[in-house]
Amino acid sequence: MEPLKKNNAPLGWMGIHRGHQARPVEWLAEKLIFLVSLSAIAMVLLIFLFVAREALPVFFGETNTALVQQIIPTAELDKHSDAEIQRYLELTPEQFKNMDKETLKTLMDVKIEALNDVPENFRNDPDAHVNTTDWKYLLKAHQWNGYDQPEYIWQPVGQIKKFNIIPLFVGTLKVTLIGLGFAVPLAVGAAIYVSQLARPRIRETVKPMIEMLSGIPSVVVGVFALIVMASVLQKIFGYQTRLNAFVAGIALGFAVIPVIFSIAEDALTSVPRAYTQAALALGASRWQTSWQIVLPAALPGVFAAAVLGFGRAIGETMIVLMVCSASVMSWNVFDSARSITTTIAAEMAEAVNGGPHYRILFMLGALLFAATFVSNMIGDFVIHRFKNKLEGKR
């Protein structure tokens, strides 16, 4: 064979001493790839930052909804501290910083006008004097004017806006727990069947079909629940309100079944063959093996599946929004309920950008984000430990 031309033949093996910085493009590309891969982290941080940013004034008590307030005459602008004026005008610190004296004075004039505009009959209403975005009113029951006992009320419209978030929490929990109570047994049962008892052919067809269920958009599930399921369930259980937390919960269950199923199925299949073979060799039947050996071994995984399912259920919006929406403070499953997600979705459009209602909706979003963050962390942690343990034992 003819010897081929060699690029650096004269140098001999000296040629390998090119130095590792010899490829700037490669180096640059590597750094870029690394930077891009940080975007997932950046996004999580940004989500937290910007949802919390809009909600911050609520946390720091910088919002004020009291209709009747002490008027600060425009001329007295200089007599009050910056912080006082900022709170009085309900501005964020940065907004406040960017404003010159003239703008502030105009805003104060507007404010005075608004305060003077409050109808006479409200002036005597004790509720008109309180800031309903105070934590006390957000969390605790309050006896509003005209009510004969303290109540938890979410009612962000009208002259006196009531922002008690407890009914929303109750509504969310109610719907979520019904959904989980429905979905967990079904999904785990199916996961046991598919992973332990079904023949491979059946497994190969059933698994993708259940995964397909997660591909149905939630508005479609919502339509089905609204039109078909609501009537069917009402006929079966014979309750009063056609659209209620129960229907929403079951429909929510449809959406979380695939999530719980795939994680539980994965956990069950990852229990080593050696466990089951040993049990079978000792004469246990297949269901005994599944029930007494596989399920206990996979229990952390199944638990994690339920936790992650909870995270998914608590964040589902459209189904609950379509099926039930009235916010009532009641633990009765056949009453209506309004979840946190629904509230945000339904009310953001009518909330004034930057106003107290807007801020409280963002605060609800931040709480929701925190709740799912925690449940995801727990779920992932449990799965991680479960897998490590299995691998250690194998």
Binding site: E26, A190, S218, F254, I257, Q288, A349, M377
Partner: protein, 314 residues
């Protein structure tokens, strides 16, 4: 499972508990499949008649509740438009992240673990929170600042727009693309990478010429899954770009748009006459389902193949 011994135990004598247990779990499986079937049959049965060429190709006047004149063309176009723009952003970022995680990162390093945790977390963030994020970050922060910089007299970017809806969806579907791409990268035999490196290819050349072409089916699956997920999502676009009604089709990135999923929501909850709206509601649902579901089935099939290949190797 497959040991012959198991069969022996099963057929030996009738065992009540075994029967009960298999029956119960089997019923659970059947029930889930039943739900799937019920939804599909219900939608197809009720939507089939309304699904005419006229329906999918006409632009409705202001009153889209009128079954005779209504159509869903603007919604189909709006949904397609926002999803395509999303894909342009999410695929490169997702693929590059997956490449970093499988090809460059060492599994024990802290930063890798944080990235993985972030991806997992992103996958679990409720879609309505993405909507809030889009409003708080893209519109109220990025958009408003863009308007200030460009000295726009009225809000052009600092208001709901197609680009912000698409970007919000891109953030939401990032984990879908990352996970699918990673799965397919892991399915590529390490021998191919070694062969390329041993020929004096750099890591980047190996990834570009050998690894990525091989991973293409997986990347496509990821893209399709992301598209089908995003196409059906309504919550993230509620405050970031969707419009109740638009007289014209969206043409620019700063336009608002009509959307299939949102239209389903509107038809089912805000109709003045529920009985009359039902046929067009179901027809719209069917269009949405066909779009998202067809994509999903394709993705599920490709993914099943990739997984089989993966299992054959391990």
């Amino acid at each position: 499972m497959n040991a012959p011994a198991t069969k022996h135990f099963r057929t030996d004598k009738f065992d009540f508990w075994s029967f009960f247990f298999s029956g119960l779990t089997g019923l659970a499986t059947l029930f889930i499949l039943g739900i799937l079937a019920a939804i599909l049959v219900n939608v197809i049965y009720n939507g089939w008649n309304g699904l005419t060429w006229h329906f999918v190709s006409s632009i409705p006047k202001k009153d889209f509740f009128d079954a005779k004149t209504t159509g869903v063309l603007p919604m189909i176009i709006g949904t397609a438009f926002r999803v395509i723009v999303m894909t342009i952003f999410v695929i490169p970022v997702g693929v590059i992240t997956a490449v970093y995680l499988t090809e460059y990162a060492s599994n024990i390093s802290i930063i890798t673990r944080i990235i993985r945790a972030a991806v997992n977390n992103l996958a679990g963030v409720p879609s309505i929170v993405f909507g809030l994020f889009g409003l708080g970050f893209f519109i109220n922060f990025v958009g408003k600042n863009m308007d200030n910089l460009l000295h726009n007299s009225s809000a052009v970017w600092g208001q709901p727009a197609l680009i912000w809806a698409s970007l919000t969806l891109a953030v939401m579907t990032l984990p879908v693309v990352i996970v699918a791409t990673e799965e397919s990268l892991k399915a590529i035999p390490p021998g191919l990478r070694e062969a390329s490196l041993a020929l004096g290819a750099t890591k980047l050349e190996t990834i570009w010429r050998i690894v990525l072409p091989q991973a293409l089916p997986g990347i496509m699956t990821g893209g399709i899954l992301a598209v089908s997920r995003a196409a059906g999502e309504v919550a993230p676009i509620l405050f970031t770009g969707v419009a109740y009604f638009m007289a014209s089709l969206p043409g620019r990135l700063s336009d608002q748009f009509m959307d299939l999923g949102y239209h389903v929501f509107v038809l089912s909850t805000q109709s003045p006459n529920i009985e009359q709206t039902r046929p067009i509601l179901y027809a719209t649902v069917l269009v949405l389902l066909i779009l998202t579901f067809a994509l999903n089935i394709v993705a599920v099939i490709i993914r099943a193949r990739v997984r089989k290949k993966l299992r054959a190797q391990s």
